[in-house]
């Protein structure tokens, strides 16, 4: 029986999973929408991964989780490694692109930049307070224009005169966009303008003050959008690499981290048929009223967090 490693990345918009072998080869991978239900999404994901996976040859020896629901999903899957998405992305990308110097990442709600030297991250930045210019903005504008988010790239590339759209703030960008639509600009030009605005917004906010050196790797859901890729290449004046597995990079990174970690815990896909739920309890210990998150499998509590002091500790 050979060892395999599962990595799961549960983001705000999409849920990604991969199973790799000990040489980081992908045995099975899946990308589905989270749709506001991380527990349901993970159960579905695990089922889909199981279908592509050769159980007679491999056995999952360690599991890693990342993304904004990493803690919850980590509790459900019995993960041996729970890592933040920034580290997971850095590890994943530097494993497959050892020469990379700059990693651009735009996801559904967040965006980050990671600077790499000699194969290790040396500086990073992540958006704070504001989710302007992320995937959520692109998909809402696609909806406004009546096209699918997947088609944005093709539309953008057909434009020869991208419309100028304010790039500083999504709220202004949106009103500017409505104005340009009402002025009769063609759809292609407007979409190309939106893609340029996303790239400009990213470089002005997250990328501010960071020295972007080639080779540049671009990943996260938005990297699938050819319009934004073209906008980055034009602004940065260098080629931008988009890996075909770029959307899985977080999951790959955390699977690699789980492989490198010392803990081992066999994972047997049985979670598909279990019931999980989260209950929030408000601690009455003091006026801070910490929200304590308790995760239950059936009637049994398997994990809890959120308390700021011992008074709020909940025991299984």
């Amino acid at each position: 029986m050979e060892q395999a490693f599962l990595g799961v990345d549960v983001g705000s918009i999409s849920t990604k999973g991969v199973i790799i072998d000990k040489d980081n080869r992908i045995l099975s991978s899946q990308y589905i929408w989270t749709q506001g239900d991380p527990i349901g999404a993970v159960k579905e994901l695990v089922g889909l991964l199981e279908g592509q996976f050769d159980k007679s040859r491999y056995q999952i020896a360690a599991t890693g989780t990342t993304g904004s629901a990493r803690k919850l999903v980590g509790a459900i899957l019995g993960a041996t490694m729970v890592k933040n998405e920034i580290t997971a992305h850095a590890v994943g990308t530097t494993t497959f692109y050892p020469d990379v110097r700059t990693i651009l990442e735009i996801g559904g709600q967040d965006s980050k930049i990671i600077l790499v030297e000699n194969g290790v991250a040396v500086d990073y930045a992540m958006n704070t307070l504001c989710a302007a210019g992320t995937g959520a903005f692109l998909s809402s504008q696609a909806k406004r224009l009546g096209i699918e988010v997947e088609e944005i790239g093709d539309y953008a590339l057909r434009s020869s005169h991208p419309t100028q759209i304010a790039a500083r703030c999504t709220v202004f960008a949106e009103s500017d966009l409505v104005h340009k639509i009402q002025m009769g600009h063609p759809k292609e030009d407007i979409i190309a303008g939106v893609c340029n605005a996303v790239a400009a917004n990213y470089l002005n906010n997250v990328g501010k003050g960071k020295k972007i050196v080639s080779p540049v790797v671009f990943q996260g859901g938005v990297s699938k959008n050819k319009g934004v890729v073209a906008a980055f290449e034009r602004t940065l004046g260098c080629p931008v690499i988009v890996d075909p597995n770029g959307h899985l990079m977080g999951a790959l990174g955390v699977a690699i981290l789980a492989r490198k970690g010392s803990k081992r815990q066999i994972f047997d896909f049985s979670v598909e048929n279990m019931d999980f739920c989260t209950r929030e309890s408000s601690c009455g210990g003091c006026s801070n009223h910490c929200e304590i998150i308790c995760v239950y499998r059936g009637d049994q509590m398997i994990d809890s967090w959120g308390n700021r002091c011992e008074r709020g500790a909940r025991v299984r």
């Binding site: 998405e85 920034i86 290790v120 991250a121 704070t128 003050g209 020295k211 006026s287």
Partner: protein
């Protein structure tokens, strides 16, 4: 002073300085000190509810804490002056609280020129007309000494607490020290409490590697020091086994370095003039951390803090010149603990992996 009506004064809760406020109020000024409850989400909700939306977050914290202090029985509130928007806090806080219908006396240092002896005596007399200036000065200096001790022990605590090998003795020693300071009645209590803390902390075995990860903390005056406001950033970092070094505190900013003029000599290459109340100190400290080969710098500010926004480009230059990562954090009343944890974990992973390679 049995029978006499004593003022019940309060100042917004701020880091651990309430120990020294109490000492100065009760020993030096001869008034009663009302301790506002610890800052909690309830404080923030109160403050945010009655504050202008785009005011700096510390204003909201102060307002919330003042409301809680009034409800705890305070009849006199006190507000400091300052060189940024802080200078206008007092006036606005008083107006908001009066509009809410609270009755209290408000002593606002912005109304006085504290560099003039005459004004200083006026302020002291407002707190308590019967105060003896000579006695006040002696006791005030004892309170100031307590501030120095608080800052010294706190700095020591965050440098070492992540390496406590005893399972919590270090933290207990620190908590006991804070208790001692809060209950101190005279100079001997202060000195003994300090000495006890020093020896208790020294007695705790530390499991520290030869070259531990060292992170420098810089940033806006209130948020950088107050553990509630920065979501216990220093404790979170220390718990990852990091030496946390923060220069900014009341002692360093106001007592040991009364002027930044000489500090600016060392950063002439980066900035030529004063950009804000704490700008020179933060730039100087960041540069010093970089020169001492720290593994990273964390820069903290509350949302829309203009002086600190101006500091950021200079820190970016330092980051580039010295190849030191800087994490910029912005706090507002809604900042989530989870988001901070993600960024700190990533920062830790990065400086840790980087150290192993470089």
């Amino acid at each position: 002073m049995a029978g006499a009506v004593r003022r019940k004064i309060a100042f917004p809760r701020y880091a651990e300085y309430h120990c020294a406020f109490r000492y100065i109020a009760e020993q030096a000024l001869g008034v009663q000190y009302i301790l506002p409850p610890p800052l909690t989400r309830h404080t923030m909700e109160l403050g945010a509810k009655y504050s202008p939306e785009f005011v700096c977050t510390p204003f909201k914290t102060c307002l919330g804490s003042m409301i809680e202090a009034l409800e705890a029985g305070a009849d006199t509130l006190f507000m400091t002056h300052g060189l940024c928007r802080l200078g206008y806090y007092g006036e606005l806080l008083e107006q908001i609280l009066r509009d809410l219908g609270y009755q209290f006396d408000f002593i606002n240092l912005s109304d006085y020129d504290m560099s003039k002896k005459k004004d200083l005596i006026k302020v002291v007399r407002r707190f308590n007309p019967k105060v003896n200036p000579a006695r006040f000065l002696t006791q005030f200096m004892e309170g100031a000494r307590m501030v120095e001790y608080l800052d010294e022990i706190t700095a020591e605590y965050y440098r070492n607490c992540g390496f406590d090998a005893s399972g919590g003795d270090y933290k207990r020693a620190y908590q006991n020290f804070l208790n001692d300071m809060y209950t101190a009645q005279n100079r001997a209590d202060v000195e003994n409490g300090y000495r006890r803390a020093r020896s208790a902390m020294q007695a705790v075995p530390l499991d520290k590697p030869e070259r531990p990860l060292r992170v420098g903390i810089a940033g806006e005056f209130y948020t950088v020091m107050d553990a509630f406001s920065n979501l216990e950033l220093e404790q979170k970092l220390a718990d990852m086994r990091v030496e946390v070094h923060r220069w900014m505190n009341v002692t360093n900013q106001f007592m040991h370095y009364k002027s930044h003029r000489n500090m600016r000599v060392k950063i002439m290459d980066l900035c030529q003039y004063e950009m804000g109340p704490t700008a020179a100190a933060n730039i100087w400290w960041a540069k010093r951390c970089a020169e001492r080969n720290f593994d990273g710098i964390v820069h903290i500010k509350s949302a829309s803090c203009t002086p600190e926004i101006d500091v950021m480009p200079v820190l970016q230059t330092i980051s580039r010149d010295y190849k030191i990562p800087v994490l910029y954090l912005t706090y507002d009343a809604q900042t989530s603990d989870v988001g901070l944890q993600t960024r700190l974990e990533a920062f830790y992973d990065m400086i840790d992996m980087r150290k192993k390679v470089l």
